[in-house]
Symmetry: D2
């Protein structure tokens, strides 16, 4: 059995020693350890992977962890077993590239998740979901129907036991109802180098400003638009010779890469959110 443990707590002396000693006493072997201290905030972060020869009950282990370790150090913690395959829902609109990218990665065995559903406010991308045999639900969203639509979405997410949501160029604002049901579990891709060009039409704004580099940003969704904790960013060089259409085309490659990396980090339990920022372990 292999467990991944994520911890953050007030910084203090002796944490690593205490945790590694605990793992040792549980007959485990630490195979990866990375830690970070935010000295400004006085917070300690750690990610461990440990292997156990004997089968362990995850519940049991977690209870002991809380009692003997986490309580003393006032830890926020999560423990994940490698046995479990997280379940990811995709929200899409009309853009094909991110949906195609995630489905082909999944199909090629690059993404260790199950994808029980694709949800959309438009019917357009249903053929793509069909190509990959993923159920597609078309739930139209208008100003008037938004509340009801989100209830339907929530119900589907619950039915399909979804663990986290990826907004793969879903062009709608997700309401607090859904955000609160999936705290730090909704990953968005924004097509700019945030915080520059938040909001609508970032490629148009980038063209207007005459930037020499464009970007894409993947972040956890919070109530404030495009202001959640950034997971991953990347950029591409552009010049005066690129039209808005060129920026959009170049941007598609950035969006694909940045979103898939952010999903990978999330799935591999490499992210901790703190103070509206992320620690992303290597």
């Amino acid at each position: 059995m292999k467990l991944t443990i994520l911890i953050h707590c007030p910084d203090q002396s002796g944490i690593i020693r205490a945790v590694t000693t605990f793992i040792y006493e549980q007959d485990g072997n630490v195979v990866y350890l990375d830690q970070h201290v935010d000295k400004q905030a006085g917070v300690f972060f750690m990610r461990l992977e440990c292997e156990f020869e004997l089968e362990q009950s995850l519940d049991n282990f977690s209870r002991e962890f809380e009692k003997k370790l986490a309580f003393n150090f006032q830890m926020d913690w999560d423990i994940y077993s490698d046995d479990y395959r997280p379940r990811m829902a995709l929200f899409v609109s009309k853009y094909k590239h991110c949906l195609y990218d995630l489905l082909t990665r999944h199909s090629a065995g690059e993404l260790q998740v199950d994808i029980p559903i694709v949800l959309s406010n438009h019917p357009d991308l249903e053929p793509i979901a069909n190509q990959f045999a993923i159920p597609y639900y078309h739930i139209p969203v208008t100003k008037e129907t938004k509340e009801g639509a989100e209830e339907k979405q929530l119900q589907l997410l619950k039915e399909h036991q979804v663990d986290f949501i990826v907004l793969a160029r879903y062009m709608q604002i997700v309401s607090p109802t859904i955000i609160n049901a999936f705290p730090q579990k909704i990953i968005n891709i924004h097509h700019s180098f945030l915080p520059a060009f938040a909001g609508a039409k970032p490629y148009h704004a980038a063209f207007e400003r005459g930037v020499k580099i464009i970007g894409a940003t993947s972040h956890y969704v919070t109530e404030e638009l495009d202001a959640g904790p950034i997971i991953e960013q990347d950029v591409a060089r552009v010049s005066h010779s690129h039209s808005i259409q060129d920026l959009i085309a170049k941007g598609r490659d950035l969006e694909r890469l940045v979103l898939s990396r952010a999903v990978h980090f999330h799935v591999a339990r490499k992210t901790i959110v703190y103070n509206n920022k992320t620690v992303v372990f290597s």
Copy 2:
């Protein structure tokens, strides 16, 4: 003799043919030609380098160019002779890295300019100017003395026949008096990926926002702070593990590179400003 010609004018048919025919009739040979059309704005841009076996009078050539070519096509144009070495003034404050970078590049023969003066509101960097035998003028600037200080600056710039100014981390806002005397001839380095984090303390702001990439931007100075036409940008990857001090250290390398590239583009007559954006020819 070698001339570099920069042109922009309303887009229309036949410009390249007309210009290359004109050069031919003047017994010149085009050795480089790059052009660009901004289709949204309907503007044509071109940069040519042409060589002449016979000595030409630049004045004569320019007069013919205006009469036979520029007038018809409503061209904005500049013609530069490679004989002339532009004169660059450096404005600095207390940061050493950009000053050192430009002076060592100059001293190593990488920058085809003369540097008649370094101006500063502080005395701190005088020893560095001395190391490279460049006259250093310390002109203190306070709220009360700003007007007088800028008059002194202007006078020195005039005396030393300065062609363009580089703000090498000069931490003062330059007033319209100077900007208007050197339109599109003042190059600033801003230590962020503009338009993100304009204004003061961009590394602190980047740290606060938790970005995964930081940047630096070189731009021509206009009256609106950090909003002038961008000449060059570059970025570096950062992570949660970098403190503000780390960002500042990483940023120094970006600032050096981006500023020196922008100066190089300007000196090589590769930039045209239009609509608060730049065309930077390759």
Copy 3:
């Protein structure tokens, strides 16, 4: 009608003027022009796009071009009409990622080609071709059957009027028979930063050498293995913490990007091959 013209010829005075004058006399309008001179080799390269209001016969235009222009300047030239959509064959083996990437880009309208066939020495990827409704031919290749297999391949390529071939991680060496039938029309993706790590297992070799950056290279296929003219390269940073498996996973993203960019350059008629190198116009 829109034509793209690619030219290279001995460098000499007056070429641009002659070409633009010719286009003008044919009632055409130059909408893009880029040129390059290789001063070492004394060769002039140019790419033009020009539009014609009146319909032109491509044959006619080409004949005039040859007679009035190309002959005098000893030009090698190609003229392409935007009307024609090039036909691309994909050769694959067992790796899914490049095949998926090209098929999804094609399906999303990002690639202006037709894809009449996918050829493979293995049956494994047939389901993917089926997903996208592209005919898939499984032609096994062994040492003994190679000659016959290539004849079958050539016949299929001919039947389907294929213009160029993309080796999307096709793990076989293509023989001179096919190379000579498609000169400078076979695009390969090699999973290293050439010329480093040519040949088999480049990620293993990169790991062994301890490089801090890995790469991928797309090139036209010539008889010498991995030594053809490079079209595009890109790189990604790695560290001691990456295993060979990590390099392979990171490399997949590079391979996808670099191959799709090379295909794009080829399809947009932006490449000229000369001296075993490429000019790739912007």
Copy 4:
């Protein structure tokens, strides 16, 4: 007092626990810990920074470390105190840019080293050393005088208590005599993306091959030319439009950056050499 500890040893269970417990028992506090396991080689690597409120004798600490910890785990280890400022010698030839870069960084307080001497086989750069008040020794090297020259070099290095050597574009091959006196303590900058273009004139070779990206590599010097453990690499995009001179100019910026980063990693005790590769901790 602050100590930095570098360890590598056969991988086995319990190392982190043992080390952190040892630090705890010495009244120390771990403020940074990074570890890595090379699973292929079965080797464990670790870097720790720990602070001690009470003054410690480094000798004492090291003795205890060896006795109670290192012996059992068969550790190779180094312990460095932050009190000590390493002493760096620069070897140069005729190129100015890397020498200028390191001296200005040192002068601006960016490099935590002392620079007691600059050695060169040419007199050309003496004025630069003088600008920064660093003693410069001109020791001509010819085939015949090489042995004697290296003896002089070794003597100077000894006299000035040099800890490590930086070959800042020193265009001579360093002989085993010096390499063995400074094992894994000589840092070279090679102006290519190794292993591509090892040896002489790499920019010429890169131009010839038509690569689209050039690079620079910093490595520890071993007896085999350009084949030592790589510390850092970086790259820059080039195109057909760049001449060899352009590659050389672009390359200077790469060389400056890559060499200064490698020096920084070495000085900050972030590198461990193993199997002709480096672990470079973050």
